[in-house]
Symmetry: none
Subunit: 228 residues, 4 copies
DNA sequence: TATGAATGAGGCTTCATTCAT
DNA sequence: AATGAATGAAGCCTCATTCAT
């Protein structure tokens, strides 16, 4: 690794972190995520991405082929990181009701704290999922989200605290809808209706409301706890 | 082919529908909505829009100034039409619970049937609401949506069928979230989790679930009716 | 004149000055002079001229044919007005030396007070005099300027106060050079050397200097008078 | 035809002179000076400039950003070259009177031989000095012109051959006015008054006259020498 | 005499990408 | 593994001018 005994010690002064392909690629991907999230696929400029990078435009093409290739890898990275955090949650050790509430609150907050991820998914939907469709990796990774929820619901049913007819996919859809929309439509919603719901208290209310509206039709005794 | 055997022989030579500025503008706007919804603001090509029009590229600039001007007007038109339909609903004559359910089902279906509108709003959010912010018209029009809901909730509280603490803005947010997400994230959601929820029955289930999850925390006796 | 007993009194309310071709043309020419002087021939916009007019763009074409036709007429008008003022000077009744000084001061001040005329002449020179060449009127009108000067010099020589070898055309050239340059190059000169010479006192100094440098080689006893 | 039988076989395939950014830029600037001088800023066509270049339109934008950027650089180059020649004159070793005369003759001839420079300055004045104002470089460079003249005048005063009250800036203004106007207004002046002054002898007369009219008010014994 | 609507041609600029080393 | 220079294709927009009444 790095300047394998060659005769050109030229770049040993600065940028020693170069000559490290992985670091260069990570650097590019980090910048790409920011720029794609800000401007969309067609709105993003390869020049801008390259300029914000610690390396050159040529390297972007060297490692990612073309703009779409870079976008695809950016999307994959984003999904991968999110999924990783969900796995780390480790909800299987909580009682079902607490686990469900925790999952809702986690999702709501996670989306809120990762607007760039939300924007990338919005952008991908604008593109009809074209690039997601090309990546089996992403699809496989994320299916696990519903499995996790399914285990929680099953335990709840077994313990008699959840209703029998609760559909994991529908619940996941509902949680996603509110958590996602809360971020994705913040701009237009705030412009039209003011940003009361966007304030700290507003967001807390919405999170509580998400918990309540998800739990109420699922839980047999629908008084939500205070965990958070 | 165009205008073959029409009933308006006025100025029989050619382009009789022209010299009608309003028609020309409407024609352009209709095409623009389609193209912007499909490709986004930066992804759309003025050339493509013009080509799909019955007039020329020059006229696009004549009436709308530039690409952003056309986009802004397209957005305005889209919001205006939606709002008009909401007003036409005339929910003030239904009993509160039925009115609320009807509003939910209307919103859910309307969004589902107007994916281009949803896409335009997604695109506008990708642009951080920049163009919506420039249009006082849109903002003013849409505030009425919450007023309408507020009237329903108030009537419900007065009649003792709705809880006292139901917040109109939050309810509106919740209805929007599910109705919007259902369309906006269809591509990625289906790719990852399959399109069960996207089938006819799946959509009916989701609509019912939207009604249930909205009504349950609001209604004192939360058994939803069958209206729809 | 105006609305000859017709059946359409429609425009009798305002714009009654219309229906007066001459007034309309004068209005257009006045605006054209301003815009051409400000922006040059290619820099000027027919749309801008028309918009600043009390009439419409179509009328510009109706009366002046095309942009170049309008420019040509604008140039003619400008020259005509200047020449008129020179004729009005009536220097033949002053003693030669006073007449010459007065001509210099008049030219210096006139140019200073009519920057738009100067700019039109600059613009015409940028165009290699193409449009002036097309107008015999302008050329004929302006030749008189040197005749006038020649008469003054002749009287001076006859009276023994001017040198025998003073060439009218060269003197005219010298007067024009300083008076013209003083206005034409004001922008660049001030930017580079500051605007001391552009102040009220600076301009008075330059005017005096113009008088001195023109008179000194012409007058036998070269002490300039104080007339101004 | 291009590069036929050249002596630089380096990279024999094609365009060997390329890959030399400085040469490319100089090539573009040379052409740009010609075209801007001929047509003005708005009258010039980037397409025409590019076509006359040995490179492509794209490179114009690559190196100069936009049309105005190219114009600005063209103006800078033009001023820079002129100033360089003035510095090379090295008048400080001549006796003051000869130095002044030489400066006048140099300026008069230089302007006469560089009509493109004059035209660029005319054009810049049409634009109200907008682009010159943006270039501190140009302004700083040219101030030296007056310093040079000031040194000559001071030496003359010290030696008793020049009057005490001669103002360097005013003298510079006067020299510039005649030298500049001689070129800038050639077209209209010749059209109106004939081109006698524009002939070889006419120009010699004007140059002599410029020397005489500048020296006479400055020199104590005002008989001009024959140097030139 | 007047006008609102319309337009072909051409202008300036940007984009993702490749070349040559 | 890296890079500065270069580029064809296509994008957005403006201009003087004419049409149809």
């Amino acid at each position: 690794m790095a300047n394998s005994g060659g005769t050109k010690p030229k770049s040993s002064r600065k940028n020693s972190w170069k000559q490290n392909p992985q670091a260069v690629q990570e650097n590019i991907l980090r910048v790409a995520q920011e720029v794609f999230a800000k401007n969309g696929l067609s709105g993003a400029r390869v020049d801008e991405i390259a300029a914000m990078t610690e390396t050159s435009k040529r390297m972007v093409y060297y490692y990612f082929g073309d703009k779409e290739g870079l976008y695809r890898r950016t999307l994959e990275e984003a999904y991968r990181k999110v999924r990783q955090k969900e796995v780390d949650l480790d909800l299987d050790h909580l009682d079902p009701r607490a686990a469900l509430e925790r999952l809702i609150r986690f999702t709501f907050r996670h989306h809120s704290e990762n607007p760039d991820f939300i924007r990338l998914v919005m952008i991908e939907n604008i593109h009809h999922g074209t690039y997601l469709a090309q990546s089996a990796t992403i699809r496989d990774m994320n299916r696990g989200a519903v499995d996790q929820l399914e285990r929680i619901l099953k335990r709840g049913r077994d313990e008699g605290v959840f209703r029998q007819d609760a559909d994991p996919l529908t619940i996941h859809w509902q949680i996603s809808a509110m958590s996602f929309f809360n971020v994705s439509n913040r701009a237009t919603f705030s412009l039209i209706f003011g940003d009361r719901l966007n304030s700290a208290t507003g967001q807390r209310q919405l999170e509580d409301w998400a918990v309540e509206t998800v739990l109420r039709p699922v839980v047999v005794d629908p008084r939500p706890s205070d965990q958070g």
